[in-house]
């Protein structure tokens, strides 16, 4: 077969990676060392911020993918957070004995089961939510906002019907209560677990997104759904799978958040939604990496601000969002979309 030789193409410079947002977290950590003044206090605040950030990332990562891929503004995402936490009690309460056992292995086993239950229930709920509530309003943002908020209200009321309106106490497993003391710094054990779970989920998501064909399809679908369909893929099926997976992650985050707060209420999902939305806006809609950095930044800033200037803690998230958007109006890692 003959070939056509194109004119010589000028050599391109190596593809540059956008590292600036990655440097924000370490820069913030370093900046805070002198401002906090005490290294043990700084360490405690930092681990607390990282743990909180990881839990928010778990809750937000699904939402950012759902928005990026499906262009759906799901204001009902908080329902999965709450339902996940309550679903976990289906394991945690009957297996209370294992939670109270003085064995880390037994404690972690029951937590793993609870995580599985939370993710399974919320994945099924997410699938049904997409079929019944989201599907009729694809492409209609105003209706999406209204109907998904309505869906969240219905979910909250259903939680009250099923589990009762009272708050449910959710004690930590015996081995995860208390703190580890490093010098003069006290680090809560559960926060370390939250950091590990968050990192594992982030690593898994990045692995799937970057190293699998499903991940390629999701990334391509975030950018141009129409072209993915024109290549012969049924994006609708991908949508449903991503929605269910995003809901499951929210359920996992909800369970972790419930254990962190050691209490459950039907409104816990709607209460965290403001933070979740700030995180996905900071990160760039559709970007999992941006969502991860955004969650860490937001949680760290909230913790440091709570210590350094408690009166500013409430507005620290908004100030952070404004700062990031002034720097990068589409967020830290804006996904290209067509």
């Amino acid at each position: 077969m003959t070939t056509t030789v194109l004119p010589a193409t000028a050599a391109l410079p190596p593809a540059k990676r956008d590292l600036a947002p990655l440097l924000l977290v370490p820069a913030l950590l370093l900046l805070m060392v002198p401002l906090v003044g005490s290294l043990p206090t700084w360490l405690t605040l930092t681990v607390a911020g990282l743990a909180m950030g990881m839990m928010i990332f778990l809750m937000a990562s699904g939402l950012t993918l759902v928005f990026g891929l499906m262009d759906v503004l799901n204001f009902g995402h908080g329902a999965f957070v709450a339902v996940g936490a309550y679903a976990a009690t289906l394991v945690l309460i009957p297996m209370h004995g294992w939670l109270e056992a003085d064995s880390l292995l037994q404690n972690l086993a029951v937590l793993a089961l609870a995580m599985g239950m939370a993710m399974l229930v919320t994945a099924i709920l997410g699938w049904a939510f997409e079929r019944i509530i989201i599907m009729p309003v694809y492409g209609q943002h105003l209706k999406q906002i209204l109907i998904t908020m309505g869906g969240m209200i219905v979910a909250e009321q259903l939680i009250n019907v099923i589990w009762g309106a009272d708050q449910i106490p959710l004690p930590l497993p015996a081995s995860l209560r208390g703190s580890i003391v490093l010098g003069e710094a006290a680090i809560e054990k559960y926060r370390l677990l939250a950091v590990v779970v968050g990192l594992l989920v982030f690593a898994l998501m990045m692995l799937v997104l970057n190293r699998s064909k499903i991940g390629l399809l999701i990334r391509a679908g975030v950018e141009n759904r129409e072209m993915v369909e024109a290549l012969g893929y049924r994006v609708r099926r991908l949508f449903v799978a991503v929605f269910a997976a995003g809901s499951a992650l929210a359920g996992l985050g909800g369970m972790m958040w419930g254990l962190y707060k050691e209490t459950l209420s039907a409104s816990m999902g709607s209460e965290v939604m403001v933070m979740v939305f700030i995180v996905i806006i900071i990160g760039g809609l559709g970007s999992v990496g941006g969502c991860f950095i955004g969650a860490l930044l937001m949680a760290l800033v909230a913790n440091y601000a709570g210590f350094l200037a408690p009166k500013l803690a409430l507005v620290s998230n908004i100030v952070l969002m404004i700062g990031v958007l002034l720097w990068r109006p589409a967020g830290l890692y804006a996904a290209s979309r067509h």
Partner: protein, 241 residues
């Protein structure tokens, strides 16, 4: 006369309140290069998008390889054997050239022999194989878009204004690549505004105006008849000469 691979009969397409295609009749013979010409807004891109199912035909039939595809979904139409290169090229800019090609290989891993064949047309693809497609120039992106459409054997290749906005050197290379694709028995329907780009390339030509095909026939007939060119393509032709 080769048999028809694609036949549009009385195709109408509405986009919102606008009636864009108003009874398009078009035949694409198997194994050649057909050209769809027309001024801006004549309905060429809408015709391609309607064939791909990206916009649904509101009336008429689209028969591809003996099957009516007018009510089929876009993925089904693609799986039936039609590849599409849109005007915007629509390369996935966050993905590398390799990943763009990998996605187009729907039925398994990339066939290395086929990749080598494609890179024969577009050597630049190999050079930028692991480079994010979004960082490439317009001409290089066009190569990725066409290469992606060729990543698996397809019966029909729809290409929408591939030369738009490209440098003359790149345009000449693309024309040569299309000539070789044509020689390899790939059926191509090429939308173009620039008559001079395609007059030596096309086997058949259709000219659209106001959402209808107003002329269809052999390219040689149109290329050899300046009066017909003037009547069908008007002043736009002068600017391309």
């Amino acid at each position: 006369m080769p048999d028809a691979l694609l036949t549009l009969s009385g195709v109408h397409t509405h986009i919102g309140q606008y009636h864009i295609l108003q009874g398009v009749d078009l035949v694409v013979p198997r194994g050649g290069l057909s050209v769809l010409l027309g001024r801006n807004g004549a309905g060429k891109t809408t015709t391609l998008r309607t064939i791909m199912g990206l916009w649904q035909a509101s009336a008429g039939s689209i028969v591809f390889d003996g099957r009516d595809i007018s009510k089929m979904t876009t993925p089904d139409i693609a799986q039936a054997g039609i590849a599409y290169v849109p005007e915007s090229m629509a390369v996935f800019s966050e993905l590398t050239v390799r990943e763009n090609m990998l996605l187009a290989a729907r039925n398994g891993p990339l066939d290395q022999a086929r990749v080598d064949w494609i890179c024969g047309f577009f050597p630049a693809l190999k050079k930028f194989w692991h480079y994010p497609a979004g960082k490439l120039s317009g001409g290089q992106k066009q190569m990725v878009a066409i290469g992606r459409a060729l990543a698996e054997p397809r019966k029909l290749l729809l290409v929408d204004e591939p030369t738009k906005g490209l440098a003359p050197a790149i345009i000449h290379s693309l024309i040569a690549a299309f000539a070789e694709l044509k020689a390899s028995d790939t059926t191509i329907l090429l939308v173009e505004q620039n008559f001079n780009v395609v007059k030596t390339l096309g086997d058949t030509v259709a000219v659209m105006d106001d959402g209808r095909v107003v002329h269809a026939g052999a390219m040689a007939d149109l290329a050899g008849d300046p009066a017909l060119q003037q009547r069908l393509l008007g002043l736009a032709l002068d600017s391309h000469q």
